[in-house]
Symmetry: C2
């Protein structure tokens, strides 16, 4: 029998790692900070990719592929950008056995190389908008890494769009933020708060950064996706101008937006429990596992036949029949529990006699008996119920742990225990924000676009504050 | 109007590049030897990937993701492998602002990192086989590059499997060779010859390398995919042993196999013509473009409505309606011709009166008129006909330009003109093969597994030869 999973109450961080390893989602690579995404983990990433990719297409985007290598000089063209990224890069100095004339940076993000290309492709308003996305690997040299959540190399998508007007680019920024919110809610069953990052927390090179932020089970925040309005910063740095409909030369307006394999970390920490991985059905590579139970060869043949029939009526559901001979049903139950299959169907000789099948929910452990003839209707409904239940549970956690704090002492005393999103008044000033971050490690997650107006006083300096903002410790 | 495409007869190589650029498949990146895959090109790659990925799944494989970085020491563990690849690698010497203790190579292929991981995952025959594949980017420092065909960075898939027995691993090698052959034939409409590479041409680290080889329109060969039987070479280098069913410790048997974005180059050079790209319908991102023709706003509304109706009956066909206002129908015809849309449907006011639509085949230019009511049946059939016609045309080229040569002088005089696959007797010796390669640049493409036995004498040394082998210049 495989090793047990550490309990959350015992060591939350070890619990997380145990799940990654025991569910065979990922493993440590020999290069520090890098990971191997194993088939169970990669299948989740493929489901994430497919769902998001459809949403990107529906909003008019096309996929492309830009090079891994960025010349050193490119990174230096946008002042804030180079400051934000250059030190974290992996640098190629040799190629083909020779020292390179110009160092190449492995992309930490692709704005610079993409805007270099956009200059070749954009000359008139007729060329706009360009709505491109790429699925790619990214390298950022990280000191403290954790499987999925923060790794030196990770997989992501990065959208890069070019527009004729500020209005259109700003709309795009918010459209993609909404795509991320909808994906997090509808597929990941992970409620998020949407809003604008502060100056301190925004992307290096952006005018405005927006984010979706989720609350993990330990009540820490996870920034799960970002959408940036880049203004004309990159167009100026790479001299990308277009002739407008009125015949004027103008700089192009830009956005970029991305989510990464970090989302898998978010999935794990939103739903899983002490028994292993729990996956929302919409992203589960296997949604239903059928475990046939037999004691004799004849029974084996019968239950496998029945299992095959059930599988065949579950059209559109991803079903696996676990017909392994060398492990017991109990071992299989545990295995699929650890790996997070949303529904287990048990079928043995008695069930066949009664023309029924036993369904066990991964999220609640609840057992129910279904007539075989109804399985084709009941099981898909059960999957929808699980999807909804996971969201509701996560939403309750978020709601129950979002609360106002009135003073800095109040914030300090609660930021670790009970933790959560602490809504406090803040003047908008960098110094007050920075002091809180330094002293408590809590940061402002984001500022809701429609944050309800509530006059108050900054918990640090007492200056006027127009609304509360959520402070939290974050991954 | 856009620039014309160079004619094949004038400058074949420039024709190829013109197509890549004019059809907006790819563009040159600022880093020497790298390319940008533009949306039109990437959409073809996505179709290739989706089709192959299904075939990999059907043959029991699962996707995973292994790191980009390979420690220098890993590459050195397999003697032939390091000799074959180390000099062509891009090398990372700095990360996070510091010089690294051990240099990292950007993966030129992933055998070493994968077999390092396999050691962690394999201990018993119960863990076998491991049938993994990954879709990833690869870097090999190339001196002479060409869009898609040979670039410093490219995209590919690499399968890496681990088996308990030589027999099983050898079967896997040939199974995947057959998957590639079938994909080339059925999707790319590109006939290939299958066979084993000579020792001189095999993969560095393999026991045996098999390939599929296609003939381009200039009658040069393109190695389009390879499948390697690696024996126990990597298992020994990385000490991957398993306990067999009989309780013995044995080294694991391995295969690897891959195809890359080079296939897009093969597609272009197999089917395209002097007017632009020609794509087999099964891989065309847009299979049918409808060009509505109008002179007045009222006509515009009518033809667009009719176009919408036709699109709606073409279920399962990828259809685009080109309703651009700022370019003429003639301009659109040319544009879609350059970009290789297999079927163009023209529909104007007269066609509406006659309840008909005009279909134009990209491959032959043939026009036909179809009653609108029959479009849902006729057009999919037309697409199948085009798919078959493209294959037949390419097959005729391959057959017509595969022929025997009897002497070395014969080979030398024909290798450039008429070119093609020259079948000659060869003793099997490295020296004779090498001399031919050095003096004529023609290499043995591969040796068919079922090459018909025909006693003869090597065209160089006169020693006995059991069968002819195909010599050709290759990309």
């Amino acid at each position: 029998m495989a090793k047990a999973i550490t309990r959350r109450s015992e060591d939350y961080s070890k619990w997380y790692t145990d799940i990654c390893l025991r569910a065979e989602l990922a493993d440590y690579a020999p290069v520090k900070g890098c990971m191997v995404i194993r088939p169970n983990g990669y299948a989740i990433w493929e489901n994430i990719r497919n769902a998001l990719d459809s949403m990107f297409r529906e909003t008019g985007h096309r996929n492309a592929y830009f090079p891994l290598f960025i010349p050193e000089s490119f990174l230096k063209k946008e002042a804030e950008h180079v400051e934000g990224f250059a030190a974290d890069c992996a640098v190629v100095t040799h190629g083909g056995g020779k020292e390179l004339e110009e160092k190449l940076y492995i992309r930490p993000t692709s704005e610079t190389i993409i805007w270099h290309m956009y200059k070749k492709w954009i000359s008139s308003y007729r060329d706009l908008p360009l709505l491109y996305n790429q699925w790619a690997n990214i390298v950022r040299w990280e000191m403290r890494t954790r499987l999925f959540l923060r790794t030196t190399e990770f997989l992501w998508q990065e959208g890069h769009t070019a527009h004729a007007t500020e209005r259109e680019a700003r709309e795009e920024t918010l459209t993609m933020l909404e795509v991320y919110r909808r994906f997090a809610q509808d597929y990941m069953a992970m409620p998020v708060i949407c809003g604008k990052k502060t100056e301190r927390e925004k992307f290096a090179g952006a005018v405005d950064t927006y984010s979706i932020e989720a609350m993990m089970q330990d009540k820490r925040a996870l920034q799960a996706g970002t959408s940036h309005y880049l203004g004309q910063n990159f167009a100026r740095a790479f001299d990308v101008q277009f002739q407008s409909q009125e015949g004027r030369l103008e700089y192009v307006y830009a956005t970029s937006w991305g989510v990464s394999t970090r989302l898998i970390g978010g999935l794990i920490m939103t739903h899983s429990d002490d028994n292993g991985l729990v996956l929302p059905p919409k992203l589960a590579p296997t949604q239903v596992v059928i475990v046939p139970i037999w004691r004799s060869d004849q029974q084996r043949a019968e239950v496998l036949e029945a299992a095959g029939k059930i599988k065949s009526v579950l059209q559109g559901v991803s079903v696996e029949i676990d017909d392994r001979d060398n492990v017991s049903p109990g071992w299989k139950f545990n295995d699929h529990e650890v790996k997070g299959v949303p529904v287990r169907l048990e079928i043995g000789p008695k069930d066949i006699q009664n023309s029924q099948v036993v369904a066990v929910r991964r999220d609640t452990g609840e057992k129910s008996t279904t007539p075989m003839s109804a399985a084709g209707e009941v099981i898909p409904k059960l999957l929808s119920q699980i999807q909804a239940a996971l969201f509701n549970r996560a939403k309750a956690l978020l709601d129950d742990n979002s609360y106002p704090v009135e003073t800095y002492d109040d914030l300090k005393s609660k930021v670790d225990q009970p933790g959560g999103f602490l809504y406090a008044h803040w003047c908008g000033g960098h110094e007050c924000e920075d002091r809180i971050a330094r002293e408590t490690k809590a940061t402002i997650r984001n500022i809701a676009i429609d944050a309800p107006r509530e006059e108050g006083a900054c918990i640090i300096c007492g200056e006027p504050s127009p609304h509360r903002v959520p402070f939290a410790k974050a991954y």
